[in-house]
Amino acid sequence: MEAWVHLAVAILLPAFFGALVAVIFPARWRNAPWVTAVITSGLAFAASVAGLVYTASRGEVRYYLGGWEPPMGIELVMDPLSAFFCAVVTGMAFFVFIHGKTVVPRETPGKEAAFYSTALLLVGGLLGIVLTGDLFNLYVFLEISSLAGYALVAIGDRRAPFSAFRYLILGTIGASFYLLGVAFIAMETGSFNMGDVARVVPALGDSAPATVGLILIVFGIGLKMALFPMHGWLSDAYTYATSTSTAIIAPIGTKVAAYVLLRGCFYMFDPDFVREGIPLTTIIGYLGAVGIIWGSVLAIAQSDLKRMLAFSSVSQVGYIALGVGLASPLGMIGAVLHTLNHAVMKACLFLVNTNILSRFGHTDIRRFDRTFRIRMPWTMAAFTLAAISMIGLPPTAGFFSKWYLVLGSWENANYVFLGVILVSSLLNVVYFFRVLEKIYLRTDGEPYDEKNEREDAAVEREESPASMLFPTVFLAASLLVLGLANAFIVTYFIRPMIPSGL
């Protein structure tokens, strides 16, 4: 037991340590920052997986920073929920960093050290959010990750600074609202510690300041999560940032915000109160439902692959919000499982996007054609698999999280949500098949004949280098594994984290 306590901090330290180390190497060692990032995120990933297994079997771990006990000191809490999110965050970071080996030096030449340092800060901040047991400490980590995020978005093309600025203004409003909410809760309960708050809140009964505090926290963090209609910052930020920045922010940034949502609604407060006392989860669920449709519709309208994926993120975050909105065990399983699945799918898709960009110089869907599948067969296969998973066809991972959400909606007799999930699957089909059709089927209206065949034969295979291909294909393949292993994941990792009141 004693030694395992340090697991919580062992997840957190490598990222921050790596952020410091990445910048100290002389400029001649061009790969050193990359190696640092890969190693530290790999260590954090290993620690997270160990923590995940440990908490699943033996329950939570608490670590008092500096030996100060709460409520004065700050504690790190690793329970099944936070261990799960840690594993998702570090895992995605690990694979995206591997993928960045050749991409980052090309897109931001000479700034690799700064890039990896910032990216590791982002990861560290996100891990801190997930692990901390203190509300104010969470704010600090939130701002650390956000600041790193603004910086990462800003290193893009000409428009990137403006999109980063929009992100910054909106993000700061979100964080400020969060802090305001913390102020209300701290004033009402007298503590910043989540565990204390959770113990005190039920005794308060129907307390208006606590309710206001929760709502401010939820929607402040909802902005970070890009919950509809507060997603205005997302599409530009994702589109204009560099490839690897987007690939690292998109899969995990919004997910960690979803974690705070879950933590606030179901752990800090009494789920019954949040569900029935104030219709908070209902509001979140319906906003998510609208966001699902809205994101999908806008994704269909896009002609740029990266922007399409950005809007698809809005839609997918909606699923998680919808799962929270169901406020039932099945909804919670769906939301958590979808967090994992969507992180893997989105990471994979953004990596594919990077591969395409680095080989063809553009990601304009209108200019995709048949030669893509010959030039980059593995990348396109990964794209297809991820797209199928996004649509939600069995046995890929995407199916199962939607399945739990469908079951949850059915159980709650919420046919609006049910309809939304079904309709959005159709819309997903539309925007992904539009791309797949160009890659695999479209022959520009002409019947496929010998001329096409000769043209195809002339096209050479130019697959990405192994450092890019391995993470892409690995993530795509893991979608199948996650899909087949979903019962295992749900039983061993997700069910233990469901709070008793839910």
């Binding site: 909106l170 309208a301 496929y448």
Partner: protein, 573 residues
């Protein structure tokens, strides 16, 4: 109890797993040997045997043996063995794999004790059979295979949705008979199964794709998909009155198209639907006699229909041509094929001494008492004899001299003849000794096929049909044309209307189509190009979404955030 309660599908999956590692001859051997082992295994399975594995909070029943399942299982494995012999000369790994998986899927469905297992094998069948259609290799086969797959995925989705609802309302996952009431769940399941059964309106995938498959592919295709659907209907919906009506529609609708069709494999394809119609009608009657007769007819149908498809396949193999208008006079080139085919034709027409007579008489006996339905089924049997009993063999093998371009024809290989011979032998044996058949039926039998009235009827109807045919034989053949079916609705691309506005029907279709076209092109698609504009926001301007034009100002994004916050606070306090 043999103590060896393995699901029969295991043999096929094992065989399929072995195939890629074997040389060509070995593969052909596996395709006969493993089904043969499965056949032995199925026939040794005792009723009531069960194999269940836990899965989540449910229990998946991979094997559940009852009379009905056993009967279908024997038919499926038997036909898989014979089809393996028929395909002995075929060396294409892809087709062999697909065929094994397909047959395995069918057996999996039949012996599934719960709906999840059933669904998994159902989808396996859909994918494997689509591969067989694609194996045809032509562009048409490719397109038809895609349509085929899409329709079946739709059917599978309906089934899945129905199963989810059913499991949720009843909490019972097991495959069982539903009470005759239209709950959304049972209705969706029924629709999903009817897609596979080929209910007119949902059937067009069948005549669209089967004739485009390979020689051997169509042998497998004809046996499994529709008959598994019949099995599921018999188990889940016995005695549902609506099925009786469905069956009548199927039998008559399809036989009319068969009379018109020019391609021999198309004629046979339509006949699958027509014959399934008899079974569905019998299931609609329900009761022990109804279900017995449906099972018997399915069993026999699998045998003689496969035999006939083999005959058609032999023709295709020998002369690479299947249109009646381009065939003729081939009797001397393949006498054995003709004789064996005629056994199958006699069986499907229900002539005494053949197995079709026994089961068809049973079906008619079950339907007896419903005058209109009885007469309509009798009418369908007129069409059956007319199209596959006389028209098809006559124009293929006897009418006029062999056309010159077919003169240098090849001969069908021996293994084809052997396979056909085995099936023909079984058809005759079951016809001569119906008791063998009765013994296999799921329920006890109190029926005598060789009753004077039944025999007389079975002889008189074909006689009358034959006389008329002979009278008009030079007029019936007609020209090389195709006849539109409901697949028109999804096959004809939306852009081409001009050439179609020729007569009333077409004008009607054209109007619907252009209306739809207008609706889609002018109403549904443009809003998706720029949703911002479609919703009337000021910033949306162009026809296509443009991130720069449609970017909202920072102020409005802040405003939205505040709005959400205020609304949430107001709602909560």
């Amino acid at each position: 109890m043999t103590g060896f309660d393995v699901p029969p599908v295991a043999f096929f999956l094992l065989g399929a797993a072995l195939l890629p590692w074997l040389p060509a001859v070995g593969r052909a051997g596996v395709c006969v040997l493993f089904p043969l082992l499965a056949l032995v295994h199925v026939s040794l399975l005792t009723e009531g045997a069960e194999l269940a594995v836990p899965f989540l909070q449910y229990e998946l029943v991979l094997l559940k043996v009852d009379g009905m399942a056993r009967m279908f299982g024997i038919a499926f494995t038997l036909v898989a063995v014979v089809a393996g012999i028929y395909a002995w000369h075929m060396r294409e790994l892809k087709q062999q794999l697909a065929a094994m998986l397909y047959a395995g899927g069918a057996l999996g469905v039949v012996f599934a004790g719960d709906f999840f297992t059933l669904l998994v094998f159902w989808e396996l069948m859909a994918v494997a059979s689509a591969l067989l259609v694609w194996a045809g290799g032509t562009d048409r086969a490719g397109a038809a295979g895609l349509r085929y797959l899409l329709v079946h995925l739709l059917g599978g989705s309906l089934l899945l949705a129905g199963i989810v609802m059913e499991v949720y309302t009843s909490g019972d996952l097991s495959v069982r008979a539903f009470a005759e009431e239209f709950s959304p769940g049972s209705l969706l399941i029924l629709l999903g199964v009817l897609v596979n059964a080929g209910m007119p309106g949902l059937h067009a995938w069948l005549p669209d794709s089967y004739p485009k498959s390979t020689v051997t592919g169509s042998i497998f295709l004809n046996a499994f998909t529709t008959k598994t659907a019949v099995y599921v209907l018999a188990v889940c919906f016995p005695g549902w009155e609506v099925l009786f009506v469905c069956g009548l529609i199927m039998a008559l609708y399809a036989v009319s198209y068969a009379v018109l069709a020019n391609d021999i494999r198309l004629i046979l394809a339509y006949h699958i639907i027509s014959q399934v119609g008899y079974m569905v009608a019998a299931i609609g009657i329900g009761g022990e006699l109804g279900l017995n007769s449906a099972a018997a007819h399915a069993y026999n149908n699998i045998l003689y229909k496969t035999l006939m498809f083999m005959g058609a396949g032999a023709v295709l193999f020998a002369v690479s041509e299947t249109r009646l208008t381009h065939l003729g006079g081939l009797f001397r080139k393949m006498p054995w094929v003709v004789v064996l085919y005629l056994v199958g034709a006699a069986a499907i027409s229900g002539l005494p001494l053949f197995n079709g007579f026994v089961s068809k008489s049973m079906v008619m006996d079950a339907v007896y008492g419903r005058d209109l339905g009885y007469s309509l089924l009798a009418l369908a049997s007129v069409g059956t004899f007319l199209s596959v009993g006389i028209k098809l063999p006559y124009y293929t093998w006897f009418y006029r001299e062999t056309p010159r371009e077919l003169d240098a024809v090849g001969k069908p290989p021996v293994n084809m003849i052997v396979a056909m011979g085995i099936l023909a032998l079984i058809c005759v044996a079951y016809g001569l000794w119906p008791a063998w058949q009765y013994a296999q039926l799921p329920y006890g039998v109190d029926f005598t096929a060789y009753r004077t009235d039944l025999v007389v009827k079975a002889i008189h109807i074909p006689l009358g049909t034959f006389v008329v045919f002979w009278f008009f034989r030079h007029k019936i053949l007609g020209e090389a044309k195709i006849v539109l079916d409901t697949d028109w609705f999804y096959r004809k691309p939306a852009s081409n209307i001009g050439g179609l506005i020729l007569d009333g029907v077409n004008r009607f279709f054209g109007a619907c189509e252009s209306g739809l076209d207008r609706l889609i092109v002018q109403r549904i698609v443009p809003p998706f190009r720029n949703p911002i504009k479609a919703l009337g926001f000021k910033s949306g301007q162009g026809d296509h979404y443009d991130p720069d034009m449609d970017r909202t100002s920072l102020g409005s994004a802040v405003g939205l955030t505040l709005l959400v916050m205020v609304v949430a606070l107001v709602l909560s306090l």
